[in-house]
Subunit: 509 residues, 2 copies
Amino acid sequence: MITGKNYIGNTLKANGNITHKTINPKLNIENPIPFYEATDEEIDEAVQLAWDAFKNYRKVSGQKRAEFLNTIADEILALDQELIDTYTTESGLPEGRAKGERGRTVSQLRAFADLVTKEDWRENSFDAANPDREPFPKDDLRRTSIPLGPVVVFGASNFPLAFSTAGGDTASALASGCPVIVKVHEMHSGTAELVASAIIKAAEKTGMPNGVFSNIMGRGKIVGAALVQHPKVKAVGFTGSISGGRALFDIAAKREEPIPVFAEMGSINPVIITPNAIENRAEEIASTYAGSITLGTGQFCTNPGLILTINSAKTQKFIIDLAQKTVAIDAQCMLHPNIKNGFVENSKSVSSQNGAEVVDEITDTVEANYAATQITTVSGKDFLKNPKLHKEVFGPFSLVVTAKDEAELIDIINGLEGQLTGTILAEKEDYANLHDIVDALESRVGRIIFNGVPTGVEVCPSMQHGGPYPASTDSRFTAVGTNAIKRWVRPVSYQSFPNELLPEALKTK
Amino acid sequence: MITGKNYIGNTLKANGNITHKTINPKLNIENPIPFYEATDEEIDEAVQLAWDAFKNYRKVSGQKRAEFLNTIADEILALDQELIDTYTTESGLPEGRAKGERGRTVSQLRAFADLVTKEDWRENSFDAANPDREPFPKDDLRRTSIPLGPVVVFGASNFPLAFSTAGGDTASALASGCPVIVKVHEMHSGTAELVASAIIKAAEKTGMPNGVFSNIMGRGKIVGAALVQHPKVKAVGFTGSISGGRALFDIAAKREEPIPVFAEMGSINPVIITPNAIENRAEEIASTYAGSITLGTGQFCTNPGLILTINSAKTQKFIIDLAQKTVAIDAQCMLHPNIKNGFVENSKSVSSQNGAEVVDEITDTVEANYAATQITTVSGKDFLKNPKLHKEVFGPFSLVVTAKDEAELIDIINGLEGQLTGTILAEKEDYANLHDIVDALESRVGRIIFNGVPTGVEVCPSMQHGGPYPASTDSRFTAVGTNAIKRWVRPVSYQSFPNELLPEALKTK
């Protein structure tokens, strides 16, 4: 049952009087339950509880933390249809997506549980003493990683489960030994409360300290800012817009003690298609990319928003085919009226720039919060001159750039802002000539995909989900995959320590 | 020969008209050579050259980068007595220290050369494809680390060699594949130019691109700020004061594209001595710590500036003994008149706080830039109340705090700012009762030493030199040891890549 209250540690509280409601974007109506913004006192209490919980939680064994994470997964599954219904009602996303995202959320939790039952992730290091070394003896030195402290996680609008309350940021932070305070995304407060109740249940069942998790609601500029400013918060995870992520980064950088903010923000995910690929499989590419551009109503951070080609008659034909195939897919619902308004505004802005031309778009009237898919094209020359054409259009949209030659195409890549991904669609005969393109992409992105689509982010050790700014605020870490745990820890060395006082994993057995 | 000019890439330039001279602190006179502050155009040219050099340098093999680093080491040794004489003339430090620090500098360069002849440091990762996986096939995914781009390194006042021009920051950045622009510390511009000439020679001998290294002089607030603001600079290394490091951090955080600043700043390095240790070996501890407090005229970032004890008659006796032994060591020269003035001011400030009492100090008149060693004491109660007593006194000084009991001692640790190190001096019979102290220290420091001294920072894989703010701006990385290279790289993933286009180390052989 959804109460509309905040979880301040294990306790539901709603002492404030500011409320918000979520929206059912498909029906374009408000959902009935009012959700209460946390008061300053409730925020402070949640952080204080997290701080106190940290003293014990950081010492809880990996085995026990794994049990906690696996129990969260079990409790999320136990929410069953109520969770799926709340998710679809608050997001406009279909039931299949809800179930798929729940599966991802549960498997992320279990992956981090697996990870922390062993100690490898801490990168423990051992240097033996050498008392005979000249001119000075060498001391025994050992290093491990310890958790930073309470972490604030911001729920993401486009992933109500996998990047929100019990998503990758929360799972990795809890796995590392950090308590978590979630700042709920207001678009899906009900989904958030249900998942929070699962985490609280799991914490109680597995004997975790009160305060290891809190679930806080309210406006980002008020409640989010207060959390990031709190001196006992030690790191922040965020997935969302550049303006939102940068605002949190700026707040954190201005603190007396600056703290890391891992914000995964905007990306237009350039896709480079060689003339040979267009020559050999234009239709196949058009079909595949029509699917990728519209997947999840284009509301993925890895959505292919920029397609880079070299101009020719065949390229022009491909662009028309891609546009038609993309627009032929039925219009789908967006997450929220605000997201729909942003899509309309941003797609209009890009397609009204000098030289930009709409190739095809859904022109029939769509339902209130549904997106009218659009494919726009522009020459390489015009794209190079105009940074407004680089702007992300969050939704089912892609800008196809026609460069006059490879040199111009590489100039375009070099002039791009940092990106999460870059993709190359090419033929075997292209390989020998692709080194410059690969080089240019490496400098701009976190992940390069060959003959595939950027959508679909595997949760595995080799995944890098993060790129040069503004794709993320810290390109040295990933938001997806088991390495995401490294965001929440720091190394500590022990010099000449007695065995019995060393952390368990550093002891000589 | 020292020219007083900047190295803009391989070329000596001095187009400006602002100059400074270094000081011989022992003689308290200016050294003769004028050094030219770089102009805005020279700064921009150096960064532009670094940017251009990066395109090639990032692709230079580990073997060739190792050759470059080893040749720098050779060329530094070839500077021979001119380097040692310039070093002592500009720093007031003795010849033995100059040679020791040169040895450390050379061995750091060789350690990073060794490191990059293999690929382990990149943490390469491989996930095999699984085309049969349900519901979606799994793609092949591989991850490596690539260099960030041009790095600005600020020379440190207290390590003219090992943490300056060719010091740990430069060695690790060059090893990673990043070009380096050094902002010279004005106190030792001659030493810096000599070392820079060795780097330039090595770059030319081993065929490295022009711009892989530049050596820039001038005021931190002008030249340093301009370098950190330059859009083509991608990371910063700094060793020095909290005010200096924080200023650079703030500039970097306000950029359109924020960049990481690794500033290793202030630390008072608490040393906890148990009553049993005082009971059993008070004299030995006093002798050892008299040496550690005065080592290098106390001008080390790991200098033991805060000694925490539990009050008793024996503790009082120990404090007097420690103070006498420390003050009995001859007064030594400080690095610069400004450093000496800071020492006088800060030691006066701490010892004039409420409840603080000078136990012993050198009262004879010392030479102009020599430091009058001082040991001061204060009660735990007074220390807890007054953050001014936490302030670092850079020089031969230590504040001994007498806590009333262990609970107060732990309160003191918990109330400390972040520190590079913490030390525990204890007996075997203490071990069972030390867990709370170790826990408290872990949360405040980057390295814990048992029955040793914090001075002396081993260059090895398990070293963590960096701690919670303000010990450093990013506690997740180390400034010393082979892991220091990780500050200058970011991960990149390759999905479904053809073997021939993968980076060498990720190829299937």
